[in-house]
C-alpha cells in the first residue's frame, strides 16, 4: 500500500486547524457564519446587523491572531532548523543561544526606561535579539574549532542577558512595569493587531524565503565545516547568512508575541524525524508543522474555561516531556545497537 506523504497529512491538518481556530473561542462562530462573513469581506461588502458582532470578532481579533500564530510558529521552527543545521546539533535552538534572552532584555529596557508603547517594546526586543547573536558571533566565531566555541559563546551570552534581565526585573516598578515584563516573557498572542501581522509577515516571509533559497548549502553545513568547504561552500559567509536570517525571523516573532519557548527546538526535532535531514523537505515541513503547533496551542489557551493563560506555559508543558520521551527513545535505540 502506498504511504501518504507527510506533507499532505500536515497540510490537511493545518487547513482543518485554521478553520477550527477561526470558529472556536470565548465567542463561538459556526461554520456557516464563518463562510458568509468571509464571502462578504472578500467581495468588499459590509455584513448586515446580524453578522456585525461575529464579523468584528473574526476580522479584528481572531484572524490577525491566527495569522500571527501561523507566522510565528513557522518562523520559530525554521529558525530552529537552520540553527540546528549550522551548529550540527539537534539540541540547539535560537532560544538556547541568546536570541530569546536578548529579546527579553530589550523588551524590559523599553518597558522600564522608554515609552512602554508596543512599538518601542517590539523594536527594542528586536534590536537586542539581533545584538545578542552578533555578540555570540564576535565572541565565538574565531579560532579553529569555531562550532564548539559558538555554542559555548551562545551559552555565555544567554546567561549574561538572563542575568541582566533579572536585574531589570529587580529594579522594575512592581505595580506598573514588572507585570508587563513578566507577561511579555511568558508570551501571548492576545494583544495582536493587524499592524503586527503586516510588520511580522514582511520580515518572516522574507527570512524564510532566503533560508529556503539556500537550503542546499544548509545540507552541506550540516555535514561539517571542512566537508562544506571542500565542496565549494564559503562556510563563513553561509554561517553569517543563516544566523542573521534565522535571528531576524525569530526576533520578529518574539517582538510580536513575546517569548514562546520550545517551539523552535521541538518542531525542528520532530520534523527531522518525520521527513529526514534534507533541508529541501525539512524547511517547508517544519514551517507547516510549526504553524500548526502554535496555532493549536494558542487556540487551546484562549479557549480555556477559566480564562486565557500565556501560551509559553502550554508549549513548555508539551515540549519538555515530548523531548524527554524522544531522548529516552533514542537512548534505547543506541543501547540496543
Amino acid at each position: 500500500m502506498k504511504r501518504i506523504s507527510p506533507f499532505i497529512i500536515i497540510t490537511i491538518l493545518l487547513m482543518a486547524g485554521i478553520v477550527f481556530a477561526l470558529t472556536v473561542g470565548q465567542y463561538h462562530i459556526n461554520l456557516l457564519t464563518l463562510r458568509e462573513i468571509l464571502i462578504l469581506k472578500l467581495s468588499g461588502k459590509t455584513p448586515g446587523d446580524d453578522l456585525m458582532t461575529p464579523a468584528m470578532v473574526l476580522w479584528s481579533v481572531r484572524l490577525p491572531r491566527v495569522l500571527i500564530a501561523l507566522l510565528a510558529g513557522a518562523a520559530l521552527s525554521v529558525g530552529g532548523v537552520a540553527f540546528q543545521g549550522i551548529m550540527r546539533n539537534p539540541l540547539v535552538a535560537p532560544s538556547f543561544i541568546g536570541v530569546t534572552h536578548g529579546a527579553v532584555f530589550g523588551a524590559s529596557i523599553a518597558i522600564i526606561f522608554f515609552s512602554k508603547s508596543a512599538f518601542s517594546i517590539e523594536t527594542s526586543a528586536f534590536i537586542w535579539a539581533v545584538s545578542a547573536v552578533l555578540m555570540v558571533y564576535v565572541v565565538g566565531g574565531r579560532g579553529i574549532n569555531t562550532l564548539t566555541t559558538l555554542v559555548i559563546a551562545g551559552v555565555i551570552i544567554s546567561s549574561f542577558f538572563q542575568a541582566a534581565g533579572s536585574f531589570l526585573k529587580y529594579i522594575a516598578d512592581p505595580y506598573e512595569e514588572l507585570p508587563s515584563i513578566v507577561f511579555w516573557m511568558m508570551g501571548g498572542l492576545n494583544n495582536v493587531q493587524w499592524i503586527h501581522v503586516g510588520r511580522a509577515s514582511v520580515i518572516i516571509l522574507t527570512g524564510i524565503t532566503v533560508i529556503y533559497a539556500f537550503r542546499w548549502k544548509l545540507n552541506l553545513m550540516a555535514l561539517g565545516d571542512e566537508d562544506a568547504l571542500s565542496m565549494g561552500v564559503n562556510v563563513k559567509s553561509a554561517r553569517i547568512l543563516f544566523m542573521l536570517f534565522s535571528t531576524l525571523i525569530v526576533a520578529a516573532s518574539s517582538s510580536s508575541c513575546g517569548i514562546i519557548m520550545w517551539v523552535d527546538l521541538i518542531v525542528a526535532h520532530i520534523s527531522r524525524l518525520i521527513v529526514g535531514p534534507d533541508h529541501n523537505r525539512l524547511i517547508p515541513f517544519a514551517a507547516i508543522l510549526g504553524a500548526f503547533f502554535l496555532l493549536m496551542t494558542d487556540t487551546i489557551v484562549r479557549s480555556l474555561p477559566g480564562g486565557e493563560i500565556p501560551v509559553s506555559i502550554i508549549t513548555s508543558f508539551i515540549g519538555a516531556p515530548l523531548l524527554g520521551y524522544l531522548l529516552m527513545k533514542q537512548n534505547k535505540q543506541w543501547s540496543e545497537e
Binding site: G85, R88, N89, P90, I144, A213, F214, R215, W216, K217, N219, L220, A222, L223, G224, E226, D227, L229, S230, M231, G232, V233, N234, R272, G276, P277, D278, N280
Partner: protein
C-alpha cells in the same frame, strides 16, 4: 615544452600558532599520477592535504593547479578542481547515501540550486560503477567503515575533479577491504585520468599502488621518487626510527617488514 604538471607545491610552510608543522614543502604531481604521501604520525601529511585544499591557509609558498595559483581562486573554483576523501566522516544527521553523493555536485547547482533529475541519474550511475547501488537509499550512518569509504569516493567522483586528495583511506579497514579500496582507486584513477594524492601509513600498500612516493618527516620532504628509490633500509629506518628489513620476493616486489631485532627489543 608542454607542461604536464597538474599540481605544484612550491615552498609552502604552515604553523599552528608557534608550532611549525610544514616547512618549505616542494614537489609536483603529474596528470594521471597516483602519488603516495608517507611518513610517521604527526609529520604533517593531513595538514599538507588541508593546505592543498585550502581548508588551512599556508603561511608562505604557492600551490598551483594547472599553473593557476589556488590562493587567487574562489572556494567554488577550487572545489571544481580538487575533491577530498576524508579519513573518516561521522555525521550527526542521517543523510542517505544518494543525498551524500549528490552533495558532491554542489558547485554545479549554482547559488540557489538543488540537484535535478539528471544529477540524480548521474549519481546513481557512479554508485553502479562502484557497485554500491544497493546502498542508494540506506542511511550513511548505518554503513560499515568500508562502505562509508566507498560512498565518500563516489561523492568525490561526482564532484568531477581533476585532482583527488585521499587522507588515509584504508586506515580503518580490514586487510581485504584495504585491497578492494586501493584497487578501486587505482582503476578509477587510470580510467578517468585523475591525479591522485594519497596519504598512507603502510609503505607496502603505498609501494604497491602508487606511481611515486613522497616521504615526509618533521614537516619536510626528505625523500621523493619511485618505490625502488625509496625502499632502502637506511632511508626507511631514518624516517620511522626503527630497524627495518626489506624482503625481496620471486615476483620482484619488495616488502618492508620490521627487523627481528626491533621485535625483540619491543618484547623486552
Amino acid at each position: 615544452m608542454q607542461n604536464h604538471k597538474m599540481l605544484e607545491i612550491d615552498n609552502i610552510s604552515f604553523s599552528y600558532r608557534e608550532r611549525r608543522i610544514l616547512n618549505g614543502i616542494n614537489f609536483s604531481v603529474e596528470k594521471g599520477e597516483i602519488c603516495g604521501l608517507l611518513g610517521p604520525n604527526g609529520c604533517g601529511k593531513t595538514t599538507l592535504l588541508k593546505c592543498i585544499n585550502r581548508v588551512l591557509h599556508c603561511k608562505s609558498g604557492t600551490i598551483r593547479v594547472h599553473g593557476q595559483d589556488l590562493s587567487k581562486l574562489s572556494r567554488g573554483q577550487i572545489a571544481g578542481m580538487i575533491a577530498v576523501v576524508p579519513q573518516e566522516l561521522n555525521i550527526v544527521f542521517s543523510f542517505t547515501v544518494i543525498q551524500m553523493v549528490l552533495m558532491g555536485g554542489t558547485v554545479r547547482y549554482g547559488l540557489y540550486g538543488t540537484p535535478c533529475r539528471k544529477d540524480y541519474l548521474d549519481a546513481c550511475e557512479i554508485l553502479e560503477e562502484l557497485r554500491i547501488e544497493h546502498l542508494t537509499d540506506r542511511c550513511y550512518n548505518e554503513l560499515s567503515g568500508g562502505e562509508k569509504q566507498v560512498v565518500l569516493i563516489a561523492r568525490a567522483l561526482f564532484q568531477r575533479p581533476e585532482i583527488v586528495l585521499l587522507d588515509e583511506p584504508t586506515s580503518h579497514l580490514d586487510f581485504k577491504r584495504q585491497h578492494i579500496i586501493m584497487e578501486m582507486i587505482k582503476k578509477i584513477s587510470g580510467e578517468k585520468g585523475l591525479t591522485t594524492l594519497i596519504t598512507l601509513h603502510d609503505p607496502n600498500t603505498a609501494g604497491r599502488y602508487c606511481h611515486r612516493l613522497i616521504m615526509l618527516n618533521r614537516g619536510c620532504v626528505c625523500h621523493k621518487g619511485s618505490r625502488e628509490k625509496i625502499f632502502h633500509v637506511e632511508t626507511l629506518e631514518s624516517i620511522y626510527e626503527m630497524k627495518i628489513r626489506i624482503e625481496h620476493t620471486d615476483t620482484g616486489s619488495d616488502y618492508v617488514i620490521p627487523h627481528p631485532d626491533q621485535e625483540k627489543n619491543e618484547k623486552n
